[in-house]
Amino acid sequence: MVEVRLEEVTKRFGNVLAVDRITLKVRDKEFIVLLGPSGCGKTTTLRLIAGLEKVTSGRIYFGDKLVDDGETTYVTPQRRNVSMVFQSYALFPHMNVFENIAFPARIKKLPKEEIKKRVNELAELLKIKDLLDRKPHELSGGQQQRVALARALMIEPSVLLLDEPLANLDAKLRVYMRAELKRLQREFKCTTIYVTHDQVEAMSMADRIVVMNQGRIQQVGTPDDLYNRPANLFVAGFIGSPPMNLLDCTVDGREFLNFGAFKIKMPEDWIAVTQGVGEAIYGIRPQDIKVYKERREGAIEFVVYVTEPLGDRIVLTLVKDDLWIKALAPPEFTVEMGDKVWILFNFEKAHLFDKRSEKLLI
């Protein structure tokens, strides 16, 4: 078990800059998730750590050992003692499940009895014991995925790499496997690097999350950090479901935020920070907006555009002039499309971002 360090790692494919000066330290035994939309460079970063690609510049360390520096040093994937689970599982079609799982151990020429023992242990753990003599094409997606996992855990790797392993599973199985994976990681105590575009997965499993976009790190932090203190607009809009409302506004005079359709007076701590700021973006999560059926002091009138009853809450899409907002209401809050409602923003939970730099102001 080791810590993985990336220093100013960059990867270019021809003219395309896939990974742009990433610096990251993954702690020993940590479960870290690389999160971001398609094409953000997270899979490329994973492949660089695995050694399936070579860095264009920068350095990668496994503990104290330099494994890639883009020039003279490069350790092949065979030598890095990592395990990887691909999105497609990459199970060897000509071998049965037992042989697939046993494969890494056979390459290292471990004794037969030990291999047999360990394969059975892992199969038991992952509940695929009775599939051992089947061939991959006879298995369901979920079963294949567990075989791939078993194979990855066969030889205790320094680092466990997972590339969107749950992407091909149906929703229910995905929820189940999230919990299973987290439990497995705790049990095996591997340093685990997990790639996904699903922020719910990331939030529920990770010790820390690395949010990436366009090859760059946007923010590194615990789920709590990312949710409550997003460093920039991208992270704010990416984390959280339903996503944060991001509204254009301008600082008006000293005390007001002007949204065009209405004005709101800012609290003291906000006023202090917003001097000299022109255009900004106001961020507030749907769950931090209070909705009322009657007029209230300081509340703003909106019209209901759509209601989505989800059973435990209702998602309301509200509109005023050109401004659209999503808010959450308790299930008893019955309104119809076209009704008027009044909403109050909870400034304690809201954020303000500078429009140009997209960075967090408060």
């Binding site: 399936l52 092949t76 994937p77 691909f86 990459a90 060897f92 000509h94 494969f103």
Partner: protein
């Protein structure tokens, strides 16, 4: 199955017509073959379809021993089936090994490697395979003299292999392309060096494709006529194709000389058996590749 036009002809009357047409096709295909089979066992076979009055193995004996049976007209030229089979077998096996090895190596390289001029190279391979034989065969004699490949079974095998290579490289490349790189990458991460990966992962998965290439190479070499015709002069090196020709070839100007039909058919059957056998052995793999062939385009 998809693309099922004839299913649409589900009305019973049209279906009957369909079966009738099918039966006619079967008859068309099988009649000459049935005749061949029957006449081989017929001591008095002729160019007409009929059940033999008696069954005999004499014809087979004749072609292997080269001795005309008492009371039967001999052929214009004696039979040396044993020798011919040995020669054909040698040529076909060597050609098969050469093609499978060279084509696999080249196809894997073309599938996994990228380099400037690659598409040029692939076009070259395609075009040279597409070139009509007569444009390549005429100078072959002179060329092979230089290599000592005239009257040399190994040389004949090499030349045959070279003529088969282009298509087989294309077939195998398509096959290797359909094996995901992630499979190899997974093997690397598990600790396999590239060579081990080739042996333990790539080749087994490519098995069907290689089986097809083996089949096609064998068939091509086993039935090859033109190349041995040009390169082989001495009779003891004749493969079966030349052997048949030596017995039954007519004098220039004459067509369809009176032949001894019994031995002819016996010869044909024995000649055809290995082809059928290899097809039978690899038929499982053919199913897997048939769809792969479209990807080759």
């Amino acid at each position: 199955m998809s693309g099922d036009i004839l299913k649409r002809i589900a009305e019973p009357s049209l279906q009957v017509v369909g079966y009738v047409v099918l039966a006619v096709m079967f008859l068309y295909i099988l009649t000459p073959l049935v005749w061949m089979f029957l006449t081989a066992f017929n001591p008095e076979g002729g160019p007409f379809l009929e059940l033999p009055k008696e069954f005999t193995l004499d014809n087979f004996v004749m072609i292997f021993t080269g001795e005309p049976i008492k009371g039967r007209a001999g052929a214009a030229h004696p039979f040396y089936m044993t020798r011919w089979i040995q020669n054909s077998f040698f040529i076909a096996s060597v050609a098969l090994l050469l093609v499978v090895t060279m084509a696999s190596m080249a196809a894997y390289s073309l599938s996994r490697l990228d380099f400037p001029g690659k598409s040029l190279l692939m076009t070259f391979i395609l075009l040279i395979g597409f070139m009509p034989s007569m444009a390549k065969i005429l100078p072959l004699f002179k060329l092979c003299l230089m290599f000592g490949f005239v009257d040399n079974l190994f040389g004949v095998a090499v030349v045959i292999a070279s003529s088969i290579l282009p298509t087989q490289i294309w077939i195998l490349k398509g096959f290797f392309d359909s094996i995901p790189r992630e499979l190899e990458e997974q093997a690397w991460v598990c600790g396999c060096g590239r060579f081990t990966t080739l042996m333990r992962v790539v080749l087994p998965v490519a098995g069907p494709g290689i089986a097809v290439v083996a089949l096609l190479s064998f068939l091509g070499a086993w039935g090859s006529f033109t190349i041995p015709l040009i390169l082989i002069r001495s009779e003891d090196l004749y493969p079966i194709s030349l052997g048949i020709a030596s017995v039954f070839i007519h004098n220039p100007g004459e067509i369809g000389l009176a032949v001894d039909y019994g031995p002819l058919c016996a010869l044909s059957i024995v000649y055809a058996i290995p082809s059928l056998a290899i097809y039978y052995l690899t038929r499982k793999y053919l199913m897997q590749v048939r769809l792969g062939k479209m990807e080759v385009r």
